[in-house]
Symmetry: C2
Subunit: 275 residues, 2 copies
């Protein structure tokens, strides 16, 4: 299969193993994944996560993955170097470093396993976010033009935001610190663990809903993959409770169409500067 | 100052720089920090976090720190090796590896800064956990003997649990997935960022409140330090919402006596095996 027949997302995270250096992969960060001038942090996590999936020697699913963002990335070639920290029977821990022109963009530490090997027990008290069906939600074609033109990646998405959490697009943010909606890829590519890594950072920053429309750079993002998603829509919620000292946390949940909480993530980000 | 004059916690995280190898430190994991036969994961995080604080070249406070637990530690000597990943103007990112007898116990990735340099703005919607005052809470002297005898570290703590969340100690867990209480060190040592790293993993596992009394090994723990704590009691809450497939997340909040949310953490842990 050539990359031309792959989905947009699979082309976006495609890796070429280096001929001589084990654990080294070459990537091409496409300009279709830009947001605000850099490459979306979730896509970078999926690229690094993909490399660890190849390097994990049979442990292909990120159970927990932590990314620390070091410098702003840009479209073009990137190199990912992986290293196994410890290989266990059910879990393998490794690190990945994504760099461009010798400058490190992202350092990752992660533990991989096999989601299919988990027992089926579910005793979850969490409830999926309540929102109207996708056809009653708001497509990003209604977002402010100055937002869309800086977010090429939105063209890759079929994203339908809950009307209750898009007041910010009309100048009346709810101030509740919450953005949620339905997510799928525009080209029909179905969700899997690597896609969930991107989805954890795919919605507009939750600070939009606090009336802070600027850019919110991620310092650290940790994603826990809790189950393999079934095909179909994903429900995604972003929320923050603690904006202080110029930083905020963003908690994300991703639910699949079977009603399963498939991913939980938290990031620490810098609050946007007042505009 | 010799270690003999230090508090129990400062002795517990004390480090001796290696004479010839920059970034290498020797520690002694005291048997007073054991829980269930191993050393408490929060104490290990504080030891590794201490090393990064020394290595951070002026950036002494962990803003975000992620620890991946690789093998069970035991009392005795340990070596911590640190490496700077990137030094920036306001934040420094580094890694630390804690090992015993050449076997790695914990790998850490973290970003450090200066909490005192943050602006004083607070726009937090989170509320501190509601609980009775310390004198109406339950000291661990009331915990089941089989719990206390496996948890030497409890002698280091003055921990007062909210009566509403200690039903598990009497055989009637609330099943709400929540344990909370007041925390301070028994010897009067006041809280600081390194202590908060331990506090994030200091309470009994929240699965006790789900009626699962066993050991819950941490896979990954990320702590965000959001403000420097004032002296006095800390309020600590642990909660879980998603127990599935043999794993659960544990979210922790730590509030100081000034009513400030000083730390937020989340860990992914293995659910206890049925007993």
């Amino acid at each position: 299969m050539t990359t031309a027949t792959l989905s947009e997302f699979d082309r976006g995270i495609a890796l070429t193993p280096h001929a001589e250096e084990p654990g080294r992969y070459e990537a091409e960060l496409g300009d279709g994944w830009q947001i605000g001038g850099g490459i979306n942090g979730g896509l970078l996590m999926a690229v690094a996560g993909h490399a660890l999936s190849l390097a994990g020697d049979g442990h292909r699913d990120p159970f927990s993955i932590s990314g620390y963002y070091l410098s702003a990335s840009r479209p073009g070639p990137a190199t990912v170097r992986t290293e196994t920290v410890r290989r266990g029977r059910t879990l393998t821990t490794g690190t990945a470093s994504l760099s461009q022109d010798g400058e490190e963009r992202l350092r990752v530490l992660a533990t991989y396993g096999d989601l299919d090997a988990l027992d089926g027990e579910v005793a979850t008290s969490a409830q999926p976010p309540l929102m109207p069906p996708p056809e009653q939600c708001i497509g990003v074609e209604h977002a402010p033009p100055q937002f869309i033109e800086q977010a090429a990646l939105l063209e890759r998405f079929d994203l339908r935001l809950d009307p209750a959490t898009v007041g910010w697009a009309l100048g009346t943010p709810s101030k509740s610190g919450r953005i949620q909606g339905w997510f799928r890829l525009a080209d029909g590519r179905q969700p899997d663990p690597l896609l969930l890594l991107m989805v954890a950072d795919a919605l507009p920053p939750v600070t939009f809903d606090l009336g802070m429309p600027g850019w919110a750079p991620t310092v650290e993002l940790t994603v826990h993959l809790r189950a393999r998603p079934v095909p179909g829509w994903l429900r995604v919620s972003h929320a923050t409770r603690n904006l202080a000292g110029g930083y905020f946390e963003e908690d994300c949940e991703v639910w699949d169409e079977a009603g399963r909480l498939v991913a939980q993530s938290r990031q620490l980000a810098r609050a946007p500067r007042p505009q």
